[in-house]
Each structure stands twice: as structure tokens, then as C-alpha cells.
């Protein structure tokens, strides 16, 4: 099982950061690599179990399912259903924690997946680079 972990400090209160992250269909509004996104079957984007179908600027298409969403703990967990990447069993979690000293936000993103061991290092590096 490969694991990727990246984290960062965002100079904004957690409520404001969460307002953006929380929208499972909102990737195009904050992630530079995402061109467009839609939720399948016209479901609300905070319905746990919904599927987002989005397209990267390079034309690749990815489908992901929302597995968990917490307005209380500020996290969102999802899995990949379909992607051009040579991996499987991919589950990722994006989590925000308030930094009380300065009213900032600590953002963590972690993912686990299985893949061909020969390609693991390359995939871990690529995935880690593309998140924030």
C-alpha cells in the first residue's frame, strides 16, 4: 500500500477555507489543474455517496465517489472510481484543523492506494505535487 501525505499552512480562518473545500463539485474554482466538474445524476454535492466526474486541463477524465464529509471535523474522504493513473484502491482524505495562534488553517491531504511497486515512487511524487 503506497501512501502520500502533504500538508500546508493556509493564511485564512478555517471556516473560509472549508467553505471552498466542502463543495465536492467545486474543484474548478480552486484547483488549477481542474477544468470542469459535474455531479452525476444531478445529486447535491454534499450527499455522501455522490460521484463527481471531472476533467483536467490536459483532457484526462477522473470519477470519484464521496465517502465521508464532516462539517464538524472539517474533513472529506473520497475514492477514485475511474482514472488514467495505473493504480487501484485509491482513498484520499482532505482535512483542515484550525491554528488558534493567528486564526490560520493547517491543511492535510493524504492518500493510500495500491499499484505496481516499480511505479510507486513516481506515482507518489506526482500525486503529492499536484494537490496543493
Amino acid at each position: 500500500m503506497a501512501r502520500v501525505y502533504v500538508s500546508s499552512v493556509i493564511p485564512a480562518p478555517v471556516g473560509r477555507v472549508w467553505a471552498r473545500i466542502r463543495d465536492f463539485n467545486g474543484l474548478p474554482s480552486w484547483h488549477p489543474a481542474i477544468a470542469e466538474s459535474r455531479i452525476e445524476n444531478g445529486e447535491p454535492s454534499d450527499r455522501v455517496g455522490c460521484v463527481r466526474d471531472f476533467r483536467l486541463r490536459n483532457g484526462e477524465r477522473i470519477r470519484e465517489r464521496l465517502l465521508g464529509l464532516s462539517d464538524y471535523e472539517y474533513f472529506c474522504t473520497y475514492s477514485i472510481l475511474e482514472s488514467p493513473m495505473p493504480l487501484s484502491d485509491y482513498v484520499a482524505t482532505l482535512r483542515l484543523t484550525p491554528i488558534t495562534d493567528g486564526d490560520r488553517t493547517f491543511a492535510e491531504w493524504s492518500a493510500e492506494f495500491t499499484c505496481d511497486p516499480a511505479r510507486e515512487a513516481e506515482l507518489v511524487a506526482t500525486i503529492g505535487r499536484t494537490v496543493f
Binding site: 501525505y5 500546508s8 499552512v9 484543523t97 488558534t100 495562534d101 493567528g102 492535510e108 496543493f132
Partner: protein
């Protein structure tokens, strides 16, 4: 149940901060309110279950027990056994996480407790300011000075 959480960013890697915080008997060397501390029965300070008995600058004596210690998660949890102030069912956790885009440390100190009716505000302030915030600022002066040197 009341909960008080303080979190901050230290300008040093987690390993450096953990060196300071991991020693359950080391708080008398950095925390401004702790005058002296020892582990009861001469046990090692990283033995889960050990009890630290310490004296504050104002002379009051406290006992706390180590409930959990993890070098993998860089966290520890302890409870208050004896204290002269009305803090009951007090359990606290300190946890470090790496900030990967800068080799910094995110540190979180969370305490849960109950107290007597009417004392909530005073106890919240005591835990937030004198325990957590003062403690983190003392740790900061140790680890960030060392980083610059």
C-alpha cells in the same frame, strides 16, 4: 465536558520539537509554571502508566499520569490525578504533525475536563493561557532558537 484546544506552527521540524515534548518529566526545564518535577518510583519517563509529581512556581503540587505515548504519531496523552484547582476528569493530548511544504511543525494541545459550576470561564482561561499557550511559547523559544543557531 469542557474542551480547550490550542494549536500553533513551530519553525522547526517535528523531530526537533518531539525531542523536547517526548520527555514526560522534562517540563520543569521549559514550562514557565513548573518549578520541579520527578517521576514516581524512579520509573523511566517514557514508561506508559508512569506518574509525574511536580511543583508549580506558586508552590502547589500536582500529579499526572502518562496514558499513551507514540513515537510514530509523535503524540502523548495524560490525565490529572491530583490538583489543588477544580479540574476534574482532565485528559489532555499533545500531538505534532509535519508541515510538508516548509519543514515546520503543526502542534496541537487539547484538554477535556469538567469543573464546578461557575468556574468554567476561569478554568478555561487557566488551561488555555497558563498551561497551553505559555507552554507552547516556551517550546517555541527552545526549538526556534536552536534552528537559527
Amino acid at each position: 465536558m469542557l474542551e480547550v484546544t490550542t494549536s500553533t506552527i513551530f519553525g522547526a521540524p517535528t523531530d526537533r520539537v518531539w525531542e523536547v515534548l517526548r520527555d514526560f518529566n522534562g517540563h520543569d526545564r521549559w514550562h514557565p509554571i513548573v518549578a520541579e518535577s520527578r517521576i514516581e518510583r524512579g520509573e523511566p519517563a517514557d514508561r506508559v502508566g508512569c506518574v509525574r509529581r511536580f511543583v508549580l512556581q506558586d508552590g502547589s503540587e500536582l500529579r499526572e499520569q502518562l496514558l499513551a505515548l507514540s513515537d510514530l504519531e509523535q503524540s502523548f496523552t495524560y490525565c490529572l490525578l491530583d490538583t489543588p484547582v477544580p479540574l476534574f476528569n482532565y485528559v489532555a493530548t499533545v500531538r505534532l504533525l509535519p508541515v510538508t511544504d516548509g519543514d515546520l511543525t503543526f502542534a496541537l494541545w487539547r484538554a477535556r475536563f469538567t469543573t464546578r459550576p461557575g468556574e468554567e470561564q476561569a478554568m478555561r482561561r487557566l488551561v488555555a493561557e497558563e498551561v497551553q499557550k505559555a507552554g507552547f511559547e516556551a517550546v517555541r523559544s527552545l526549538v526556534e532558537r536552536a534552528e537559527e543557531g
